[in-house]
Amino acid sequence: MDPSYYIVLSAALFTIGAVGVLIRRNAIVVFMCIELMLNAANLALITFSRMNGSLDGQIMAFFVMVVAAAEVVIGLAIIMSIFRTRRSASVDDANLLKY
């Protein structure tokens, strides 16, 4: 099978993630969309690794996974702390800072 299909898939996933970040209102869902974007990048890295015939892309995917996990923990901790105060995870409710 032509590996370039996977690039198309990864681009589609990345786009879904990016659109999700822009239109969803729940911080957790926004965050999940960001993770989707990271995983789309992972898919692209691995596919290119296959196409280029080098291992670098796969190693990079490992690093991305770990970085993404660290980001998940930090992000959830921050969202959790704001949720406990406001009882809401909507990004529209966080509106004290403006102008």
């Binding site: 190693i59 490992f62 996974m65 770990v66 996990a69 660290a70 923990v73 959830l76 901790a77 959790m80």
Partner: protein, 125 residues
């Protein structure tokens, strides 16, 4: 014919499955047929130690364990580096240096665990 023999060893398991399903069906059908039925609203209510239930059933669960979940995510994912390392550390020219490097890596992770333990996030409150 080895094909029949091969499947033959599963004959017992198949029999057991059929028996189990039959037992379940027969028992529940018998119950249906033999018991008297008098449905009332009280019987459908949530049982709460005999007291009338209060409030809705959409309660928020206490997520006491969320810190564990965070720690688990980190430690589970960090182990991803162990696998490539396990393949290469025995190769020529790697040896002790790689072992020490991985020891440092694991020590840093352990440091995180030590911190979590000292901050008492590992105890059930």
């Amino acid at each position: 014919m080895c094909g029949v023999d091969y499947l033959g060893s599963y004959r017992l398991l198949g029999l057991l499955l059929i028996l189990g399903a039959a037992f379940f069906t027969v028992a529940f059908t018998a119950n249906r047929l033999l018991s008297r039925r008098a449905p009332s609203a009280g019987k459908n209510a949530t049982y709460e130690c005999g007291i009338d239930p209060v409030g809705g059933d959409w309660a928020q669960a206490q997520v006491r364990y969320y810190v564990y979940a965070y720690l688990y995510v980190l430690f589970a994912v960090e182990s991803v580096f162990l696998f490539p390392w396990a393949v290469t550390y025995a190769l020529d020219g790697f040896g002790m240096v790689t072992v020490v490097e991985m020891a440092i890596f694991v020590a840093v992770l352990a440091l995180g665990l030590l911190y979590a333990w000292r901050k008492r996030v590992l105890s059930w409150t």
